[in-house]
Symmetry: C2
Subunit: 151 residues, 2 copies
DNA sequence: TCTGAAAGGTGATAACC
DNA sequence: GGTTATCACCTTTCAGA
């Protein structure tokens, strides 16, 4: 695992806050010149610390009336793979996590409407017991990953 | 709700894929000049379609051994607010959603270790019944929000 | 709402410490 | 690992359609 110093964390914080920031401005914020921050950012990208840069889109603002989480306790390994395959194939699935706990998969979805979500949940029923939670509101919609405390 | 045309969706797709792309390159991809895409992007930002731009960070790569979801069925309105307040105050909480379904809140957390997570879950116990799911792996870690099908 | 041109700012690289 | 210097390219602004 790559070792990250104070400046790396300032860079990580700044780019989580505004991924479009230029290298010069980024350098200003961490008291380094542009070429120096550029090479640090490259290093963070190559180490897999920075996975990519994305615009955050508001699902509701682009026509998704429904946001939700689907939990599934699958019947076994074969079913778990089948669920992952369905999650992979459905673009309305934004995330699919295999978890330990009451469910095997936690799937994050958006949908145009409840009826648009229905066929997907029905399909999941072949491989487990889907339990759907629909988002009313998000008191914390997104937050940057903070610097960890010492282990 | 703002009306989005084909070009807007090409822009949304491109910026979800790479938020650091320059306006000139973005213009190339959507067959527009740089000033034209710039003004469209501004419009998307001002309409709240684009909420911001973020570097995606791998929690495991920066020292978070634990990623998880905590579901809580709270006792009532007072408790639900108390949970939201705790989620807001804890930086390891990346998201807090109020949902309809078996739980009232779905909280996404990272933690340095299981023992680092424990006090937070304990604190939630004052306001509801937390059920924790720990992420083994993420077959779909992140996916861009696609263009909705016609409603 | 888009294009094209001008000016200043930025990103990438090289040479050096 | 860092800085300074250089140049090509990009962003921004504005006039015009």
């Amino acid at each position: 695992m790559i070792q990250l110093d104070d400046i790396d964390w300032q860079i990580i914080a700044a780019l989580q806050d505004d991924a479009r920031m230029g290298y010069r401005e980024l350098g200003r914020q961490v008291s380094l010149t542009a070429p120096a921050v550029t090479s640090r950012v490259r290093r963070l990208e190559e180490a897999g610390v920075i996975l990519g840069y994305s615009a955050r889109i508001d699902p509701a603002a682009v026509g998704y009336g429904i946001e939700g989480f689907i939990h599934i306790a699958s019947g076994g390994r074969r079913q778990s793979y089948a669920i992952a395959a369905q999650a992979e194939a459905e673009p309305r699935v934004l995330e699919d996590h295999r978890v330990a706990g009451q469910s095997d998969h936690i799937i994050r979805v958006v949908a145009e409407s409840l009826s648009a979500l229905e066929p997907f949940v029905d399909a999941l029923n072949d491989d487990g017991r889907p339990v759907t939670s629909l988002v009313f509101s998000s008191p914390k919609r997104w937050s940057p990953i903070p610097r960890p405390q010492a282990l």
